[in-house]
Protein backbone atom coordinates (compact mmCIF):
# COMPACT_ATOMS: atom_id res chain seq x y z
CA UNK A 1 0.00 0.00 0.00
CA UNK A 2 3.00 2.21 0.47
CA UNK A 3 3.65 2.21 -3.19
CA UNK A 4 0.23 2.24 -4.77
CA UNK A 5 -0.63 3.50 -8.18
CA UNK A 6 -4.34 2.85 -7.83
CA UNK A 7 -6.28 6.08 -7.84
CA UNK A 8 -3.69 7.90 -9.91
CA UNK A 9 -5.54 8.23 -13.17
CA UNK A 10 -3.92 9.78 -16.17
CA UNK A 11 -6.32 11.79 -18.25
CA UNK A 12 -3.85 13.10 -20.81
CA UNK A 13 -1.03 11.51 -22.74
CA UNK A 14 1.16 14.30 -21.41
CA UNK A 15 0.52 13.13 -17.86
CA UNK A 16 1.27 9.57 -18.85
CA UNK A 17 4.50 10.57 -20.53
CA UNK A 18 6.04 12.69 -17.85
CA UNK A 19 9.45 11.86 -16.48
CA UNK A 20 8.19 9.93 -13.48
CA UNK A 21 4.56 9.00 -14.06
CA UNK A 22 4.03 7.56 -10.60
CA UNK A 23 3.57 10.01 -7.78
CA UNK A 24 5.69 8.13 -5.25
CA UNK A 25 8.60 8.05 -7.67
CA UNK A 26 8.24 11.75 -8.23
CA UNK A 27 8.25 12.48 -4.53
CA UNK A 28 11.14 10.09 -4.01
CA UNK A 29 13.27 11.80 -6.61
CA UNK A 30 12.48 15.22 -5.20
CA UNK A 31 13.37 14.04 -1.72
CA UNK A 32 16.59 12.53 -3.00
CA UNK A 33 17.55 15.75 -4.74
CA UNK A 34 16.77 17.72 -1.61
CA UNK A 35 18.98 15.43 0.41
CA UNK A 36 21.70 15.59 -2.22
CA UNK A 37 21.74 19.35 -2.55
CA UNK A 38 20.85 20.41 1.00
CA UNK A 39 21.06 17.56 3.48
CA UNK A 40 24.37 16.05 2.47
CA UNK A 41 26.30 19.34 2.26
CA UNK A 42 25.14 20.19 5.77
CA UNK A 43 26.17 16.95 7.41
CA UNK A 44 28.70 15.02 5.39
CA UNK A 45 32.32 14.94 6.47
CA UNK A 46 35.24 15.76 4.26
CA UNK A 47 36.03 12.08 3.92
CA UNK A 48 32.56 11.44 2.57
CA UNK A 49 32.86 14.25 0.07
CA UNK A 50 36.29 13.52 -1.30
CA UNK A 51 36.51 9.78 -0.98
CA UNK A 52 32.98 8.56 -1.45
CA UNK A 53 30.47 11.04 -2.84
CA UNK A 54 32.53 12.74 -5.52
CA UNK A 55 33.95 9.50 -6.96
CA UNK A 56 30.51 7.95 -6.68
CA UNK A 57 28.99 10.72 -8.79
CA UNK A 58 31.85 10.73 -11.27
CA UNK A 59 31.70 6.98 -11.73
CA UNK A 60 27.91 7.05 -11.96
CA UNK A 61 28.27 9.47 -14.84
CA UNK A 62 30.81 7.28 -16.58
CA UNK A 63 28.64 4.22 -15.98
CA UNK A 64 25.67 6.12 -17.36
CA UNK A 65 27.71 6.86 -20.45
CA UNK A 66 28.63 3.22 -20.90
CA UNK A 67 25.06 2.20 -20.19
CA UNK A 68 23.82 4.38 -23.02
CA UNK A 69 26.16 2.59 -25.37
CA UNK A 70 25.96 -0.93 -24.02
CA UNK A 71 22.65 -1.02 -22.23
CA UNK A 72 20.55 1.01 -24.64
CA UNK A 73 22.31 0.73 -27.97
CA UNK A 74 23.69 -2.76 -27.39
CA UNK A 75 27.32 -2.10 -28.29
CA UNK A 76 29.66 -3.66 -25.74
CA UNK A 77 32.67 -1.48 -25.04
CA UNK A 78 35.79 -2.14 -23.00
CA UNK A 79 37.31 1.27 -23.60
CA UNK A 80 35.35 3.67 -21.37
CA UNK A 81 38.41 4.65 -19.37
CA UNK A 82 40.15 5.83 -22.52
CA UNK A 83 37.29 8.19 -23.27
CA UNK A 84 37.50 9.47 -19.72
CA UNK A 85 41.17 10.10 -20.38
CA UNK A 86 40.34 12.05 -23.51
CA UNK A 87 37.93 14.17 -21.49
CA UNK A 88 40.43 14.79 -18.71
CA UNK A 89 43.27 15.78 -21.01
CA UNK A 90 41.00 17.83 -23.26
CA UNK A 91 39.68 19.79 -20.29
CA UNK A 92 43.22 20.41 -19.06
CA UNK A 93 44.31 21.67 -22.44
CA UNK A 94 41.32 23.91 -22.99
CA UNK A 95 41.93 25.52 -19.61
CA UNK A 96 45.60 25.85 -20.37
CA UNK A 97 45.42 27.15 -23.90
CA UNK A 98 42.21 29.12 -24.20
CA UNK A 99 42.48 32.33 -22.24
CA UNK A 100 39.59 32.89 -19.85
CA UNK A 101 37.46 29.94 -20.91
CA UNK A 102 34.80 29.27 -18.26
CA UNK A 103 35.14 25.95 -16.50
CA UNK A 104 31.68 24.71 -17.48
CA UNK A 105 32.40 25.42 -21.13
CA UNK A 106 35.64 23.53 -20.63
CA UNK A 107 33.76 20.49 -19.42
CA UNK A 108 31.39 20.66 -22.38
CA UNK A 109 34.31 20.97 -24.77
CA UNK A 110 35.98 18.03 -23.04
CA UNK A 111 32.84 16.00 -23.59
CA UNK A 112 32.63 17.04 -27.22
CA UNK A 113 36.25 16.12 -27.82
CA UNK A 114 35.63 12.71 -26.31
CA UNK A 115 32.50 12.42 -28.45
CA UNK A 116 34.55 13.08 -31.57
CA UNK A 117 37.06 10.41 -30.64
CA UNK A 118 34.17 8.13 -29.74
CA UNK A 119 32.66 8.49 -33.20
CA UNK A 120 36.00 7.60 -34.73
CA UNK A 121 36.27 4.41 -32.71
CA UNK A 122 32.58 3.69 -33.22
CA UNK A 123 32.99 3.41 -36.97
CA UNK A 124 34.02 -0.28 -36.86
CA UNK A 125 30.74 -1.07 -35.09
CA UNK A 126 29.05 -0.77 -38.45
CA UNK A 127 30.70 -3.97 -39.57
CA UNK A 128 31.78 -5.72 -36.40
CA UNK A 129 29.47 -7.13 -33.79
CA UNK A 130 29.40 -8.69 -30.35
CA UNK A 131 32.61 -9.79 -28.69
CA UNK A 132 34.61 -9.00 -31.79
CA UNK A 133 33.56 -5.40 -31.32
CA UNK A 134 34.27 -5.58 -27.60
CA UNK A 135 37.80 -6.70 -28.22
CA UNK A 136 38.13 -4.11 -30.95
CA UNK A 137 37.25 -1.38 -28.44
CA UNK A 138 40.38 -2.45 -26.60
CA UNK A 139 42.24 -0.92 -29.51
CA UNK A 140 40.76 2.42 -28.46
CA UNK A 141 41.70 1.76 -24.85
CA UNK A 142 45.36 1.08 -25.53
CA UNK A 143 45.86 3.43 -28.45
CA UNK A 144 44.40 6.51 -26.78
CA UNK A 145 46.36 6.03 -23.57
CA UNK A 146 49.51 5.52 -25.61
CA UNK A 147 48.89 8.74 -27.56
CA UNK A 148 48.51 10.66 -24.32
CA UNK A 149 51.88 9.47 -23.13
CA UNK A 150 53.56 10.03 -26.48
CA UNK A 151 52.57 13.54 -27.46
CA UNK A 152 54.14 15.74 -24.77
CA UNK A 153 52.14 18.71 -26.02
CA UNK A 154 49.04 17.11 -24.52
CA UNK A 155 50.51 17.22 -21.03
CA UNK A 156 52.13 20.60 -21.54
CA UNK A 157 55.55 18.97 -21.87
CA UNK A 158 55.51 17.61 -18.36
CA UNK A 159 58.50 15.31 -18.22
CA UNK A 160 56.48 12.52 -16.70
CA UNK A 161 53.22 12.90 -18.65
CA UNK A 162 51.34 13.70 -15.47
CA UNK A 163 48.99 16.66 -15.54
CA UNK A 164 47.91 18.69 -12.58
CA UNK A 165 44.56 20.36 -13.07
CA UNK A 166 43.90 24.07 -12.86
CA UNK A 167 41.77 25.85 -10.31
CA UNK A 168 38.07 26.11 -11.03
CA UNK A 169 36.29 29.43 -11.02
CA UNK A 170 32.64 30.07 -11.74
CA UNK A 171 31.64 33.75 -11.78
CA UNK A 172 34.83 34.54 -9.95
CA UNK A 173 34.13 32.10 -7.15
CA UNK A 174 36.74 29.42 -6.63
CA UNK A 175 35.49 25.88 -6.19
CA UNK A 176 38.18 24.35 -4.04
CA UNK A 177 36.66 22.83 -0.94
CA UNK A 178 35.41 19.26 -1.19
CA UNK A 179 31.87 20.48 -0.44
CA UNK A 180 31.88 22.95 -3.31
CA UNK A 181 33.37 20.42 -5.66
CA UNK A 182 30.71 17.96 -4.62
CA UNK A 183 27.94 20.42 -5.36
CA UNK A 184 29.45 21.23 -8.74
CA UNK A 185 29.74 17.57 -9.68
CA UNK A 186 26.27 16.83 -8.36
CA UNK A 187 24.72 19.60 -10.45
CA UNK A 188 26.41 18.42 -13.60
CA UNK A 189 25.53 14.80 -12.96
CA UNK A 190 21.90 15.57 -12.19
CA UNK A 191 21.60 17.67 -15.33
CA UNK A 192 23.18 15.02 -17.53
CA UNK A 193 21.12 12.27 -15.95
CA UNK A 194 17.94 14.16 -16.76
CA UNK A 195 19.16 14.60 -20.30
CA UNK A 196 19.89 10.88 -20.53
CA UNK A 197 16.48 10.01 -19.16
CA UNK A 198 14.88 12.32 -21.72
CA UNK A 199 16.86 10.80 -24.55
CA UNK A 200 15.98 7.25 -23.69
CA UNK A 201 12.27 7.98 -23.35
CA UNK A 202 12.05 9.68 -26.73
CA UNK A 203 12.61 8.45 -30.24
CA UNK A 204 16.40 8.77 -29.88
CA UNK A 205 16.33 6.14 -27.17
CA UNK A 206 13.79 4.01 -28.99
CA UNK A 207 16.02 3.97 -32.04
CA UNK A 208 18.96 2.83 -29.87
CA UNK A 209 16.95 0.08 -28.25
CA UNK A 210 15.56 -1.02 -31.61
CA UNK A 211 19.09 -1.37 -32.95
CA UNK A 212 20.06 -3.24 -29.81
CA UNK A 213 17.14 -5.67 -29.89
CA UNK A 214 17.11 -6.43 -33.61
CA UNK A 215 19.07 -4.36 -36.04
CA UNK A 216 17.54 -5.74 -39.22
CA UNK A 217 14.03 -4.99 -38.08
CA UNK A 218 15.17 -1.55 -36.98
CA UNK A 219 16.48 -0.72 -40.40
CA UNK A 220 13.33 -2.03 -42.04
CA UNK A 221 11.17 0.37 -40.09
CA UNK A 222 13.34 3.22 -41.26
CA UNK A 223 16.09 3.58 -38.65
CA UNK A 224 19.42 4.36 -40.23
CA UNK A 225 21.87 2.11 -38.44
CA UNK A 226 24.99 4.14 -39.01
CA UNK A 227 23.91 7.48 -37.55
CA UNK A 228 22.07 5.73 -34.74
CA UNK A 229 25.06 3.68 -33.64
CA UNK A 230 27.45 6.57 -34.07
CA UNK A 231 25.16 8.84 -32.09
CA UNK A 232 25.22 6.29 -29.28
CA UNK A 233 29.01 6.22 -29.41
CA UNK A 234 29.13 10.01 -29.44
CA UNK A 235 26.69 10.53 -26.56
CA UNK A 236 28.28 7.75 -24.54
CA UNK A 237 31.76 9.16 -25.08
CA UNK A 238 30.49 12.63 -24.25
CA UNK A 239 29.31 11.37 -20.88
CA UNK A 240 32.52 9.48 -20.28
CA UNK A 241 34.51 12.51 -21.36
CA UNK A 242 32.74 14.81 -18.93
CA UNK A 243 33.16 12.16 -16.25
CA UNK A 244 36.87 12.05 -17.04
CA UNK A 245 37.17 15.82 -16.79
CA UNK A 246 35.38 15.77 -13.44
CA UNK A 247 37.54 12.84 -12.33
CA UNK A 248 40.62 14.93 -12.99
CA UNK A 249 39.40 18.34 -11.85
CA UNK A 250 37.13 17.52 -8.95
CA UNK A 251 38.39 14.20 -7.67
CA UNK A 252 42.09 13.44 -8.13
CA UNK A 253 43.41 16.85 -9.10
CA UNK A 254 46.29 15.21 -10.88
CA UNK A 255 46.16 12.38 -13.37
CA UNK A 256 48.50 10.37 -15.54
CA UNK A 257 47.54 8.47 -18.70
CA UNK A 258 48.25 5.12 -17.04
CA UNK A 259 45.60 5.86 -14.47
CA UNK A 260 42.97 5.38 -17.18
CA UNK A 261 43.80 1.73 -17.52
CA UNK A 262 41.88 -1.25 -18.76
CA UNK A 263 41.16 -2.00 -15.12
CA UNK A 264 39.20 1.23 -14.82
CA UNK A 265 37.23 0.35 -17.95
CA UNK A 266 36.37 -2.96 -16.39
CA UNK A 267 35.25 -1.30 -13.18
CA UNK A 268 32.83 0.82 -15.15
CA UNK A 269 31.58 -2.24 -16.99
CA UNK A 270 31.07 -3.99 -13.65
CA UNK A 271 29.03 -1.05 -12.47
CA UNK A 272 26.49 -1.34 -15.24
CA UNK A 273 26.29 -5.11 -15.09
CA UNK A 274 25.81 -5.20 -11.35
CA UNK A 275 23.58 -2.14 -11.42
CA UNK A 276 21.50 -3.11 -14.40
CA UNK A 277 22.16 -2.98 -18.12
CA UNK A 278 19.76 -0.61 -19.80
CA UNK A 279 18.74 1.22 -16.67
CA UNK A 280 19.66 4.73 -15.65
CA UNK A 281 19.01 4.01 -12.01
CA UNK A 282 21.20 0.93 -12.39
CA UNK A 283 24.18 3.07 -13.31
CA UNK A 284 23.97 4.73 -9.90
CA UNK A 285 23.33 1.58 -7.95
CA UNK A 286 26.18 -0.19 -9.72
CA UNK A 287 28.60 2.64 -9.13
CA UNK A 288 27.71 2.71 -5.46
CA UNK A 289 28.11 -1.01 -5.14
CA UNK A 290 31.42 -1.35 -6.94
CA UNK A 291 32.86 1.67 -5.18
CA UNK A 292 31.65 0.86 -1.70
CA UNK A 293 32.21 -2.89 -1.68
CA UNK A 294 36.03 -2.77 -1.55
CA UNK A 295 35.91 -0.03 1.06
CA UNK A 296 33.47 -2.04 3.09
CA UNK A 297 35.56 -5.20 2.77
CA UNK A 298 38.65 -3.23 3.63
CA UNK A 299 37.08 -2.16 6.89
CA UNK A 300 35.05 -5.24 7.66
CA UNK A 301 37.54 -8.03 7.06
CA UNK A 302 40.18 -6.96 9.57
CA UNK A 303 37.32 -6.28 11.96
CA UNK A 304 35.97 -9.81 11.61
CA UNK A 305 39.47 -11.22 11.70
CA UNK A 306 39.97 -9.48 15.06
CA UNK A 307 36.57 -10.42 16.30
CA UNK A 308 37.04 -14.11 15.74
CA UNK A 309 40.75 -14.06 16.43
CA UNK A 310 41.56 -15.36 12.97
CA UNK A 311 45.28 -15.41 12.29
CA UNK A 312 45.06 -13.37 9.10
CA UNK A 313 48.09 -11.47 8.02
CA UNK A 314 47.52 -8.17 6.30
CA UNK A 315 48.38 -9.73 2.98
CA UNK A 316 45.84 -12.47 3.48
CA UNK A 317 43.18 -9.91 4.23
CA UNK A 318 44.03 -8.12 1.02
CA UNK A 319 43.81 -11.34 -0.93
CA UNK A 320 40.51 -12.26 0.63
CA UNK A 321 39.17 -8.88 -0.44
CA UNK A 322 39.92 -9.60 -4.07
CA UNK A 323 38.53 -13.09 -3.74
CA UNK A 324 35.32 -11.93 -2.12
CA UNK A 325 34.92 -9.19 -4.70
CA UNK A 326 35.12 -11.75 -7.50
CA UNK A 327 32.76 -14.13 -5.72
CA UNK A 328 30.19 -11.44 -5.11
CA UNK A 329 30.17 -10.51 -8.76
CA UNK A 330 29.47 -14.11 -9.68
CA UNK A 331 26.93 -14.39 -6.89
CA UNK A 332 25.04 -11.33 -8.08
CA UNK A 333 25.01 -12.47 -11.65
CA UNK A 334 23.56 -15.78 -10.56
CA UNK A 335 20.96 -14.34 -8.21
CA UNK A 336 19.86 -11.46 -10.40
CA UNK A 337 21.42 -11.22 -13.84
CA UNK A 338 19.49 -8.05 -14.52
CA UNK A 339 21.19 -6.22 -11.74
CA UNK A 340 20.29 -4.17 -8.72
CA UNK A 341 17.88 -2.02 -10.70
CA UNK A 342 15.71 -5.08 -11.29
CA UNK A 343 15.90 -5.98 -7.62
CA UNK A 344 14.68 -2.51 -6.80
CA UNK A 345 11.85 -2.88 -9.29
CA UNK A 346 10.83 -6.19 -7.72
CA UNK A 347 10.92 -4.56 -4.32
CA UNK A 348 8.67 -1.81 -5.58
CA UNK A 349 6.23 -4.32 -6.97
CA UNK A 350 6.16 -6.04 -3.61
CA UNK A 351 5.64 -2.73 -1.84
CA UNK A 352 2.71 -2.03 -4.11
CA UNK A 353 0.86 -4.86 -2.42
CA UNK A 354 2.44 -4.63 1.00
CA UNK A 355 1.26 -5.28 3.68
CA UNK A 356 -1.49 -7.28 1.98
CA UNK A 357 0.27 -9.78 -0.25
CA UNK A 358 -2.85 -10.70 -2.21
Amino acid sequence: MLYREAGQFKTTYAADQQLFPIRQDRLGVIALLAIGFVGVPLFASEYWFSAILIPFLVFSLAALGLNILTGYAGQLSLGSAAFMAVGAYAAYNFQLRVEGIPILVTFIMAGLTAAGVGILFGLPSLRIKGFYLAVATLAAQFFIVWCLTKFPWLSNNSSSGVISTQKMFIFGHEFDSPREKYLLVLSIVVFLSLAAKNMVRSSTGRAWMAVRDMDVAASVIGIRLMPTKLLAFAVSSFYCGVAGALYAFCYLGSVEPDGFSLELSFRILFMIIIGGVGSILGSYLGAAFILLLPIFLDIALPFFANLFGLPFSTATVSHIQVLVFGSLIMFFLIVEPHGLARLWQITKEKLRLWPFPH
Partner: protein
Protein backbone atom coordinates in the same frame (compact mmCIF):
# COMPACT_ATOMS: atom_id res chain seq x y z
CA UNK B 1 -15.61 -5.18 -53.34
CA UNK B 2 -16.06 -1.54 -53.05
CA UNK B 3 -12.42 -0.57 -53.27
CA UNK B 4 -10.84 0.71 -56.45
CA UNK B 5 -7.77 -1.14 -57.63
CA UNK B 6 -5.45 1.32 -59.25
CA UNK B 7 -2.40 1.33 -61.49
CA UNK B 8 0.75 -0.70 -61.10
CA UNK B 9 2.87 0.91 -58.40
CA UNK B 10 5.57 -1.72 -58.04
CA UNK B 11 6.97 -3.53 -61.02
CA UNK B 12 9.59 -6.24 -60.58
CA UNK B 13 11.32 -7.22 -63.78
CA UNK B 14 13.51 -10.30 -64.24
CA UNK B 15 14.78 -10.44 -60.68
CA UNK B 16 17.57 -12.91 -59.90
CA UNK B 17 19.19 -13.27 -56.50
CA UNK B 18 22.10 -15.49 -55.48
CA UNK B 19 23.84 -16.20 -52.16
CA UNK B 20 27.29 -17.37 -53.11
CA UNK B 21 26.51 -20.24 -55.42
CA UNK B 22 22.93 -20.76 -54.24
CA UNK B 23 20.21 -19.35 -56.45
CA UNK B 24 17.40 -18.00 -54.33
CA UNK B 25 15.39 -16.31 -57.09
CA UNK B 26 15.63 -16.81 -60.82
CA UNK B 27 14.30 -14.38 -63.37
CA UNK B 28 11.10 -13.43 -61.59
CA UNK B 29 8.77 -10.75 -62.88
CA UNK B 30 5.47 -9.61 -61.46
CA UNK B 31 3.78 -6.41 -60.44
CA UNK B 32 1.68 -4.97 -57.66
CA UNK B 33 -1.21 -2.59 -58.23
CA UNK B 34 -2.28 0.16 -55.92
CA UNK B 35 -4.79 -0.81 -53.20
CA UNK B 36 -4.77 -4.51 -54.06
CA UNK B 37 -3.98 -7.46 -51.83
CA UNK B 38 -1.29 -9.41 -53.60
CA UNK B 39 -0.33 -12.83 -52.24
CA UNK B 40 2.89 -14.72 -52.79
CA UNK B 41 2.58 -18.43 -52.23
CA UNK B 42 4.75 -21.45 -52.72
CA UNK B 43 6.24 -24.39 -50.87
CA UNK B 44 8.94 -23.95 -48.23
CA UNK B 45 12.17 -22.67 -49.67
CA UNK B 46 10.46 -21.29 -52.74
CA UNK B 47 12.02 -17.88 -52.19
CA UNK B 48 8.96 -16.03 -50.85
CA UNK B 49 10.68 -14.28 -47.97
CA UNK B 50 13.63 -13.49 -50.22
CA UNK B 51 11.18 -11.79 -52.52
CA UNK B 52 9.92 -9.53 -49.73
CA UNK B 53 13.50 -8.84 -48.71
CA UNK B 54 14.21 -7.74 -52.26
CA UNK B 55 11.21 -5.43 -52.26
CA UNK B 56 12.23 -3.60 -49.11
CA UNK B 57 15.92 -3.52 -49.81
CA UNK B 58 17.31 -6.05 -47.30
CA UNK B 59 18.65 -8.12 -50.20
CA UNK B 60 20.02 -6.72 -53.40
CA UNK B 61 19.30 -8.80 -56.52
CA UNK B 62 22.20 -9.32 -58.86
CA UNK B 63 20.00 -8.93 -61.91
CA UNK B 64 16.71 -7.31 -62.75
CA UNK B 65 14.93 -4.01 -62.42
CA UNK B 66 12.61 -2.71 -59.76
CA UNK B 67 10.29 0.13 -60.69
CA UNK B 68 8.46 1.73 -57.81
CA UNK B 69 5.92 4.45 -58.52
CA UNK B 70 7.29 4.99 -61.97
CA UNK B 71 10.94 5.40 -60.95
CA UNK B 72 13.59 2.73 -61.36
CA UNK B 73 15.13 2.00 -58.01
CA UNK B 74 18.84 2.18 -57.43
CA UNK B 75 20.52 -0.14 -54.95
CA UNK B 76 19.20 0.94 -51.57
CA UNK B 77 19.23 0.23 -47.89
CA UNK B 78 16.21 -1.08 -45.98
CA UNK B 79 15.63 2.17 -44.14
CA UNK B 80 15.02 3.92 -47.45
CA UNK B 81 12.14 1.59 -48.22
CA UNK B 82 10.57 2.75 -44.99
CA UNK B 83 10.92 6.31 -46.14
CA UNK B 84 9.06 5.37 -49.33
CA UNK B 85 6.22 4.25 -47.09
CA UNK B 86 6.80 0.54 -47.36
CA UNK B 87 6.34 -1.28 -44.03
CA UNK B 88 6.58 -4.95 -43.26
CA UNK B 89 6.30 -7.72 -40.71
CA UNK B 90 8.51 -10.77 -40.38
CA UNK B 91 8.03 -14.50 -40.49
CA UNK B 92 9.82 -14.97 -37.17
CA UNK B 93 8.55 -12.09 -35.15
CA UNK B 94 11.08 -9.29 -35.16
CA UNK B 95 9.81 -7.14 -32.32
CA UNK B 96 12.13 -5.27 -30.01
CA UNK B 97 12.01 -7.62 -27.06
CA UNK B 98 13.30 -5.23 -24.47
CA UNK B 99 10.66 -2.60 -25.08
CA UNK B 100 6.97 -2.26 -24.22
CA UNK B 101 4.16 -2.62 -26.73
CA UNK B 102 3.69 1.12 -26.76
CA UNK B 103 7.36 1.82 -27.44
CA UNK B 104 7.49 -0.85 -30.12
CA UNK B 105 4.63 0.73 -31.97
CA UNK B 106 6.08 4.20 -31.41
CA UNK B 107 9.23 3.10 -33.24
CA UNK B 108 7.02 2.55 -36.25
CA UNK B 109 6.63 6.30 -36.48
CA UNK B 110 10.30 7.04 -36.26
CA UNK B 111 10.64 8.25 -39.83
CA UNK B 112 8.01 10.86 -39.17
CA UNK B 113 9.68 12.35 -36.11
CA UNK B 114 11.92 15.25 -36.83
CA UNK B 115 13.22 16.41 -33.44
CA UNK B 116 16.98 16.06 -32.98
CA UNK B 117 18.57 14.25 -30.07
CA UNK B 118 19.56 17.56 -28.52
CA UNK B 119 15.93 18.58 -28.40
CA UNK B 120 15.13 15.22 -26.90
CA UNK B 121 17.83 15.51 -24.29
CA UNK B 122 16.74 18.96 -23.21
CA UNK B 123 13.06 18.16 -23.81
CA UNK B 124 12.41 21.43 -25.59
CA UNK B 125 11.39 22.50 -29.08
CA UNK B 126 9.71 19.82 -31.14
CA UNK B 127 10.55 16.99 -28.76
CA UNK B 128 7.61 17.15 -26.39
CA UNK B 129 5.06 18.23 -28.99
CA UNK B 130 6.02 15.45 -31.35
CA UNK B 131 5.98 12.86 -28.66
CA UNK B 132 2.37 13.74 -27.80
CA UNK B 133 1.20 13.99 -31.39
CA UNK B 134 2.60 10.65 -32.33
CA UNK B 135 1.39 9.06 -29.15
CA UNK B 136 -2.11 9.99 -30.28
CA UNK B 137 -1.59 8.28 -33.63
CA UNK B 138 -0.17 5.23 -31.95
CA UNK B 139 -3.15 5.05 -29.63
CA UNK B 140 -5.35 4.95 -32.71
CA UNK B 141 -3.44 1.94 -33.95
CA UNK B 142 -3.70 0.35 -30.52
CA UNK B 143 -7.44 0.90 -30.53
CA UNK B 144 -7.72 -0.45 -34.05
CA UNK B 145 -5.93 -3.66 -33.11
CA UNK B 146 -7.72 -3.94 -29.77
CA UNK B 147 -4.59 -4.23 -27.65
CA UNK B 148 -5.20 -1.39 -25.18
CA UNK B 149 -4.81 -3.62 -22.15
CA UNK B 150 -1.22 -4.64 -22.95
CA UNK B 151 0.05 -1.18 -23.83
CA UNK B 152 2.74 -1.07 -21.12
CA UNK B 153 3.70 -4.74 -21.19
CA UNK B 154 7.18 -5.66 -22.44
CA UNK B 155 6.59 -7.56 -25.66
CA UNK B 156 8.78 -10.43 -24.57
CA UNK B 157 6.11 -11.47 -22.07
CA UNK B 158 3.24 -11.62 -24.59
CA UNK B 159 1.86 -14.79 -26.17
CA UNK B 160 2.73 -15.47 -29.77
CA UNK B 161 -0.55 -14.37 -31.32
CA UNK B 162 -0.48 -11.01 -29.60
CA UNK B 163 3.13 -10.47 -30.58
CA UNK B 164 2.13 -10.95 -34.20
CA UNK B 165 -0.58 -8.37 -33.71
CA UNK B 166 1.84 -5.91 -32.12
CA UNK B 167 4.20 -6.37 -35.01
CA UNK B 168 1.38 -5.53 -37.39
CA UNK B 169 0.70 -2.50 -35.23
CA UNK B 170 4.28 -1.34 -35.54
CA UNK B 171 4.03 -1.60 -39.31
CA UNK B 172 0.69 0.18 -39.38
CA UNK B 173 1.95 2.99 -37.19
CA UNK B 174 4.10 4.09 -40.09
CA UNK B 175 0.90 4.70 -42.09
CA UNK B 176 2.39 2.78 -45.00
CA UNK B 177 1.11 2.94 -48.52
CA UNK B 178 2.41 -0.56 -49.04
CA UNK B 179 2.50 -3.26 -46.40
CA UNK B 180 4.56 -6.44 -46.72
CA UNK B 181 3.30 -9.25 -44.49
CA UNK B 182 5.41 -12.36 -44.11
CA UNK B 183 3.14 -15.21 -42.94
CA UNK B 184 1.04 -13.04 -40.60
CA UNK B 185 -1.04 -16.02 -39.55
CA UNK B 186 1.60 -18.68 -39.08
CA UNK B 187 1.18 -20.61 -35.89
CA UNK B 188 -2.18 -19.09 -34.98
CA UNK B 189 -5.37 -20.85 -33.99
CA UNK B 190 -8.54 -20.43 -36.00
CA UNK B 191 -9.89 -17.62 -33.88
CA UNK B 192 -6.66 -15.65 -34.02
CA UNK B 193 -6.50 -16.19 -37.76
CA UNK B 194 -9.98 -14.79 -38.16
CA UNK B 195 -9.01 -11.71 -36.17
CA UNK B 196 -5.91 -11.23 -38.26
CA UNK B 197 -7.84 -11.61 -41.53
CA UNK B 198 -10.26 -9.01 -40.34
CA UNK B 199 -7.44 -6.59 -39.52
CA UNK B 200 -5.79 -7.11 -42.88
CA UNK B 201 -8.99 -6.54 -44.80
CA UNK B 202 -9.85 -3.53 -42.66
CA UNK B 203 -6.47 -1.98 -43.29
CA UNK B 204 -6.83 -2.54 -46.98
CA UNK B 205 -10.35 -1.24 -46.95
CA UNK B 206 -10.17 1.71 -44.58
CA UNK B 207 -6.75 3.12 -45.45
CA UNK B 208 -6.45 1.82 -48.98
CA UNK B 209 -3.10 0.25 -48.15
CA UNK B 210 -1.57 -1.97 -50.79
CA UNK B 211 -0.71 -5.32 -49.24
CA UNK B 212 1.79 -7.92 -50.33
CA UNK B 213 1.27 -11.07 -48.36
CA UNK B 214 2.99 -14.40 -47.91
CA UNK B 215 0.72 -17.06 -46.51
CA UNK B 216 0.56 -20.82 -46.33
CA UNK B 217 -3.10 -21.20 -45.51
CA UNK B 218 -4.63 -21.61 -48.96
CA UNK B 219 -8.13 -20.94 -47.74
CA UNK B 220 -7.12 -17.58 -46.39
CA UNK B 221 -5.09 -16.68 -49.45
CA UNK B 222 -7.84 -17.51 -51.87
CA UNK B 223 -10.40 -15.68 -49.75
CA UNK B 224 -8.73 -12.38 -49.23
CA UNK B 225 -6.26 -11.75 -52.04
CA UNK B 226 -6.96 -10.04 -55.29
CA UNK B 227 -4.10 -11.62 -57.20
CA UNK B 228 -1.69 -14.42 -56.39
CA UNK B 229 1.83 -15.13 -57.57
CA UNK B 230 3.21 -18.64 -57.10
CA UNK B 231 6.91 -19.41 -56.64
CA UNK B 232 8.68 -22.74 -56.61
CA UNK B 233 12.42 -23.26 -56.25
CA UNK B 234 13.00 -19.58 -56.87
CA UNK B 235 11.04 -19.56 -60.10
CA UNK B 236 7.65 -18.12 -60.89
CA UNK B 237 5.21 -20.84 -61.88
CA UNK B 238 1.92 -19.03 -61.77
CA UNK B 239 0.36 -15.57 -61.53
CA UNK B 240 -3.21 -14.36 -61.63
CA UNK B 241 -6.50 -14.08 -59.76
CA UNK B 242 -7.11 -16.85 -57.20
CA UNK B 243 -9.37 -18.97 -59.37
CA UNK B 244 -6.93 -18.89 -62.22
CA UNK B 245 -4.07 -19.96 -60.02
CA UNK B 246 -6.04 -22.69 -58.37
CA UNK B 247 -6.44 -24.41 -61.69
CA UNK B 248 -2.91 -23.90 -62.93
CA UNK B 249 -1.32 -27.27 -63.78
CA UNK B 250 2.14 -26.36 -62.60
CA UNK B 251 0.88 -24.99 -59.33
CA UNK B 252 -1.02 -28.14 -58.60
CA UNK B 253 2.06 -30.15 -59.42
CA UNK B 254 4.26 -28.10 -57.15
CA UNK B 255 1.86 -28.35 -54.25
CA UNK B 256 0.78 -31.93 -54.62
CA UNK B 257 3.93 -33.45 -56.05
CA UNK B 258 4.84 -34.66 -59.54
CA UNK B 259 3.10 -37.99 -59.10
CA UNK B 260 -0.30 -36.42 -59.17
Amino acid sequence: MSKQIGDVILDLQNISLRFGGVKALTDISFNVREHEIRAIIGPNGAGKSSMLNVINGVYHPQEGKIVFRGAQREKMEPHMAARQNIARTFQNIALFKGMTVLDNIMTGRITKMKASFVEHALWFGRAKKEELEHRKKVEEVIDFLEIQHIRKTPVGRLPYGLQKRVELGRALAAEPSMLLLDEPMAGMNVEEKQDMCRFILDVNDQFGTTIVLIEHDMGVVMDISDRVVVLDYGKKIGDGVPDEVKNNEEVIKAYLGAGH
